[in-house]
């Protein structure tokens, strides 16, 4: 693995750097002076097969162009808005990030910042340290956090972890995200301005991309209002920063807790003197425990790449959700892993699959997958396990693959969803009433129909026949059956 040349873009973590140096061939970008960078990259280009970036410094278009041997970008972050994903896709460069290990830290900080902003904890600390607390009776009124209406932008891993914490403070939860999620206790808003108008604390927890740039606009800040609080643990670019600054300064916005800024490490000057804002320097995941876990993920992803094993946390592939992780489900998982698809699954009991993400319900699985595969046995509990709710959660960009049984899926619902464009596409090997296939599907281009051929190969049918014959012989000869089900 010493032959894997890894370019580290920034001294982001001592343990990471030390291990990269030990396990791979480490090249430090900052070893070259900024003005000699192009030459530095050129002279190392042949060796550099991997790049390790983070939230602030990552593989942008110019860097990727300068590295013709680049195979993988392993980001020391969960947000990869600074990686040119389109270019990576074109060049077949694999991308990994560090999801899950930092979810708790970021959520802890988000709620901690909300309390700190509302109750003015850093301001109290400054007040006391400055020797200003002169009399027991002088007091600063601040407003209660518990019971406030909390709105979350983005209900992914981090957003959900924030919601779970806020609920313990009896906060009501509302959210906005690209599609509605299966949480009936959380109120969904299709419009961010309406979300802001109906909450007390707005927490930014979505990923940064073209659609979410400046999602917290002047209008949203205005809707949040002079009693409202903005907490940003996403990216600086989620917020129109000049608007935010003037709103806070003029008290048109009540308060803010900010971990991120448009131009780190330079937060806007005007915020420095304000008491209604808490400013922290992008520390969302900056704990010893989490940084080590993130670093280990980066290192393990690079090792997996070097050894041609499945990546642990690929970002590149479509997310595949498998219903039922038995023999067939697992075989599907190992195949899609090789395409860098993250694997999610649902089954009755959670098992220990470190690289596969468990979801406690099919609806949640569908909401977090791009491709949903039915691979469980058919019984009373699994009949119509793919129902309207699941199909809606999969959504207009989602794809359903059924290699189980027709009755696993509510077929009329599936057909109307496909015809109306509420579901993106389907690959179907099985149907409720074979050999009859709903005619409405025949004209659709986003559907692949095959006539129950899942095991329809010479080799497999021969093996299946041998099993049948072997079982019958065993029965006649009073020997143990080969493949008893009951």
């Amino acid at each position: 693995m010493e032959s894997l040349g890894v370019l580290l873009l920034h001294p982001m973590n001592a343990y990471l750097e030390q291990e990269l140096d030990r396990r791979f061939r480490l090249i430090r970008l900052w070893d070259s002076p900024p003005d000699a960078r192009a030459d530095f990259l050129r002279s190392n280009a042949a060796a550099i097969r991997a790049v390790v970036g983070n939230a602030g410094y990552n593989a942008d278009s110019a860097l990727i162009d300068a590295l013709p041997a680049l195979e993988i970008v392993a980001s020391f972050s969960v947000g990869i808005d600074r990686v040119d994903l389109a270019k990576c896709r074109e060049r077949g460069i694999r991308v990994t990030n560090t999801p899950d290990v930092l979810t708790d830290d970021v959520a802890d900080l988000a709620v901690g910042l909300a309390i700190a902003a509302l109750r003015k904890i850093p301001q109290a600390d400054r007040y006391v340290r400055a020797g200003l607390w002169k009399a027991k009776g002088d007091y600063t009124l601040t407003t209660r956090f518990s019971g406030k209406r909390v709105a979350i932008l983005g209900l992914g891993r981090i957003g959900l972890a924030v919601a779970k914490r806020a609920e313990a403070f009896d906060c009501s939860i509302s959210y906005h995200s690209r599609s509605q999620k299966p949480f009936p206790n959380y109120r969904f808003f299709t419009n961010v301005v309406d979300l802001a108008a109906n909450c007390d604390v707005l927490i930014v927890a979505c990923s940064l991309n073209a659609e979410t740039h400046h999602i917290v606009s002047r209008e949203v800040i205005h809707a949040l209002g002079p009693e409202g609080v903005l907490i940003n643990i996403g990216r600086g670019a989620h917020v129109d920063e000049p608007e935010l600054v003037s709103a806070l300064f003029e008290k048109r916005l009540g308060a803010a807790g900010l971990d991120v800024f448009e131009h780190e490490p330079f937060p806007p000057e005007q915020l420095i003197g304000l008491d209604n804002v808490v400013l922290v320097p992008h520390v969302g995941s900056d704990t010893e425990e989490t940084c080590k876990a993130m670093a280990d993920l980066v290192l393990q992803n690079l090792e997996a790449h070097a050894l041609n094993k499945p990546l642990l946390t690929p970002f590149s592939g479509k997310r595949v959700g498998i219903i039922g992780l038995g023999r067939i489900g697992l075989a599907i998982a190992t195949r899609v892993e090789a395409f860098d698809c993250p694997v999610n699954y649902y089954q009755r009991t959670k098992k220990e699959y470190p690289n596969y993400t468990y979801y406690p319900s099919v609806v949640e699985l569908a909401a977090n997958s791009d491709v949903l595969v039915v691979a469980c046995p058919l019984n009373e509990q699994t009949r119509h396990i793919v129902n309207r709710e699941v199909i809606d959660a999969l959504g207009p960009k989602g794809v359903l693959i059924n290699i189980g049984r027709g009755p696993h899926v509510d077929e009329p619902e599936l057909v109307s969803a496909l015809v109306e464009g509420r579901l993106g596409g389907a690959g179907l090997d099985v149907f409720e009433d074979e050999p009859n296939v709903p005619e409405a599907l025949f004209t659709l281009d986003n559907v692949v129909l095959v006539p129950h051929v899942g095991s329809g190969t010479h080799e497999t049918r021969q093996a299946m026949a041998d099993l049948v014959l072997g079982n019958l012989e065993a029965h006649v000869l009073k020997k143990p059956l080969l493949t008893p089900v009951v």
Binding site: D104, D105, A107, D108, L109, V111, G112, L113, I115, A116, R119, K120, I121, P122, A124, D125, R126, Y127, V128, R129, W133, K134, A135, K136, G137, Y139, T140, L141, T142, T143, R144, F145, S146, G147, K164, R165, E167, A168, F169, E264, P265, F266, P267, I272, V278, L279, V280, P281, H282, V283, D286, T287, E288, E289, T290, C291
Partner: protein
């Protein structure tokens, strides 16, 4: 204020005050009761006064109480009533009421805010940013995770139980110490404070200050909490041996502290001012409009109950 002969038409019940009322209280209660500052009360009023309302935390001593022979109720406006001579109240058979659950939510929120602020260095990091050090000196040093920490709560009453619920949602493992176990509580009871400290990463104080609990957090307890342990105090300064706390912090015997209360407010040991692993606050945990409204309701309810012969709403067990 001088007393005037009462005519039946304006017979508002007499309530003596140990201190002037907070403006919010005066506004809400003025029409219901006849308030007289105890220090200004003439002999007639002092002889008949049945209720002493104690706004704030100024001491109410045996001498103060001795001047009021007809006294039956001492009504406090705080949760902690250690500033009232409770032994004297007990021996005279007086009832004492406190703020009941009115402050519990804000106290619990604040305690959790302090836990995150200390462990994640929120106040120190905020100061780092404001001093321009992010640009000049680079990234702030790594802190430690809140999720998954072992939390020990001292006193699982109204405040402690709410702290427990909130920190459990952060993925913390919660245990508690109190005079007796709470069978309905899902958290682990630890009979000895020293054991709780030894088995915790964060120790949260949310119990009353009494003769038994005074200085309960001493050097031994702090050493058991350990060099990575954090102490959070939203109870009373007197629960902690404060000079020992300062020494332990200075020597690194404990890992950090979040303090809203002190032994001798508003005096705060200045050695703490230079420490990044400490968050200091000016006893503001319950200074919110919501808590003030809440305690006003409790005080009003207690006064109403007393004067109509009904059971008190938030009596303190003496």
């Amino acid at each position: 204020m001088e007393t005037t002969p009462q005519s039946p038409a304006d017979e508002k019940p007499l309530v003596l005050l140990s201190q002037p009322l907070f403006p919010e209280f005066a506004a809400a209660l003025a029409g219901r009761y006849r308030f007289v500052l105890a220090a200004d009360a003439d002999a007639a009023a002092a002889a008949v006064a049945r209720v002493l309302l104690v706004p704030g935390l100024a001491p109410v001593t045996a001498e103060h109480l001795a001047r009021l022979p007809a006294l039956e109720l001492v009504a406090g406006t705080s949760v902690g009533v250690d500033h009232v001579d409770l032994d004297n109240c007990r021996s005279r058979g007086l009832s004492v009421t406190n703020a009941g659950p009115a402050f519990a939510v804000d106290s619990a929120d604040y305690a959790v805010g302090l836990v995150v602020a200390v462990l994640r260095r929120v106040a120190a990091a905020d100061a780092y940013v404001r001093r321009g050090r992010w640009a000049a000196d680079g990234d702030y040093p790594l802190a430690t995770k809140v999720s998954g920490k072992r939390v020990g709560i001292v006193g699982l009453g109204n405040i402690g139980s709410r702290v427990a619920r909130r920190l459990a949602a952060f993925g913390c493992a919660v245990s508690y110490h109190s005079r007796s176990p709470k069978p309905s509580s899902p958290y682990t009871f630890v009979p000895a404070l020293l054991d709780l400290a030894a088995g915790s990463d964060v120790l949260v104080l949310s119990c009353a200050l009494t003769d038994e609990t005074k200085h309960m957090v001493n050097r031994t307890v702090m050493e058991a909490l350990g060099k990575d342990g954090v102490l959070i105090n939203v109870g009373r300064g007197g629960l902690v041996d404060e000079p020992e706390l300062v020494r332990c912090l200075r020597d690194g015997a404990i890992g950090g502290a979040g303090l809203d209360v002190y032994a001798n407010e508003p005096a705060v040991p200045p050695e703490l001012f230079g420490m990044d692993n400490v968050v200091l606050s000016d006893h503001r945990a319950v200074i919110t409009p919501e808590s003030i409204r809440g305690v006003l309701e409790v005080v009003t309810a207690n006064l109403d109950a007393f004067f109509s012969g009904r059971p008190l709403v938030s009596p303190v067990q003496l």
